[in-house]
Symmetry: C2
Subunit: 243 residues, 2 copies
């Protein structure tokens, strides 16, 4: 029977795809995904059937992919970044339920925490937490609790979805929570349009981050107590002892 | 002047390298790294000069790489997994200090949190924390604080270095801390030798994880309150609301 591969594309450029993701897309019959991501890859694999859905229709997209695979098509369900982390892999498993078919393969890709960190220098050298500021599926109180926990435990922090339509103040609210526990001078960074045209990065303090303009193409990094700026890069050491 | 690229190899197999990492290794003059990782790639890039160091000589390794780049060699300093996360990128920046040369390029790779998660299913769909149980450079009290913070904030958790030479009881001690706050039936997973010969995975409860044999080739995953096992895979949903 045909297979459903959930494929992490990475940030978007061909170079940051894994060899495995490239091979999966080359060998599939059908590429399914949010139209922005399918458009990213369409030209690289021009002989494939493609199916797209709007942004919030993730369950439809996954059902479409499962159905196509059951019908005999080798499907690549594409995700920006990683296939698991804020990706579609879990939903595919949930919609397949206790059925062992079709076979599901999860192909990991570079999530924005990794690709954005590399753009900024080395902010995530040591223990860190990843938190999404989107409250579409998670109560804001839970998000607040996670931000506080990360700050109090001196974890470096990566914030996904720092801004979304209709919710422009999430980053400011998140920073206000962090500023209860962390100094305003804490080094931070913003990675913008990672792996896409207009890719850029910016270093700033936590106080500045609070009021920084961000959009849905940004990933935000907040250093831990040891993080510093070296030659224009955000650098977090490996631990607390010198070696 | 020549460039120093810090390259994340991913878990170890060619397929899970990024196209960009592959190209960097193809185009460099010299590959430097811990001998196990250089041996992994040596055959794929047979025309390269190679330099290796033992495991705990990371600063020497980075200095060697900086020196070679200053001397005109395009250097690829290779790391297993990602180049930043528990990798060498920060140390390279620290040893270069306020000198703007040689140019440093950080090439991200699949860290074990991503590649191990894909092997287990989809345990990291939503907010998560990554904590290393190695106390070589970090006090055990700090590690404990981070484990507790993650548990209380209902973050999925990834544990790196669950066992190391002379420290066989770290996982048990970590689980004892987690079991103060989490139920013994919490679904967990172990990914072993990701991307290498003998790759395997195992699902078990937190109580079972406490006494599970682990080695330095294992990455441990602890689910959040919503994580469950579906058809032999560890699956964490996207959030708390149905869509």
């Amino acid at each position: 029977m045909a297979k459903l591969s959930v494929v992490g594309l990475g940030p978007g450029d061909y170079e940051n795809m894994t060899v495995r993701a490239d091979r999966a897309l080359k060998s599939c019959d059908t590429i399914i995904g949010y139209h922005v991501y399918v458009d990213l890859v369409r030209e690289r694999y021009p002989d494939k059937k493609t199916l797209t859905t709007p942004m919030t229709r993730e369950a439809d997209r996954c059902r479409m992919a499962l159905e196509a695979a059951r019908g005999g098509e080798n499907v690549a369900l594409v995700c920006s970044g990683d296939s698991g982390i804020y990706g579609m892999a879990a939903l595919v498993y949930e919609l397949r339920g206790e059925d062992a078919e079709p076979e599901i393969e999860v192909i990991p890709g570079l999530t924005a925490a990794c690709s954005g960190a590399a753009l900024l220098g080395a902010p995530l050298t040591h223990d860190f937490a990843v938190v999404s500021l989107s409250d579409r599926l998670t109560p804001w109180e839970t998000i607040e609790k996670r931000l506080e926990a990360a700050a109090l435990a001196d974890l470096s922090l990566v914030l996904y979805n720092p801004a979304s339509h209709g919710r422009p103040d999430h980053l400011r609210r998140a920073c206000d929570i962090l500023l209860r526990h962390l100094p305003g001078e804490r080094p931070c960074g913003i990675a913008h349009s990672i792996g896409r045209e207009g890719e850029s990065m910016q270093l700033l303090t936590l106080s500045q981050l609070r009021d920084a303009p961000v959009d849905m193409f940004c990933t935000v990094f907040i250093g831990n107590a040891s993080t510093r700026v070296l030659c224009g890069r955000l650098v977090t050491p490996r631990g607390y002892r010198d070696v």
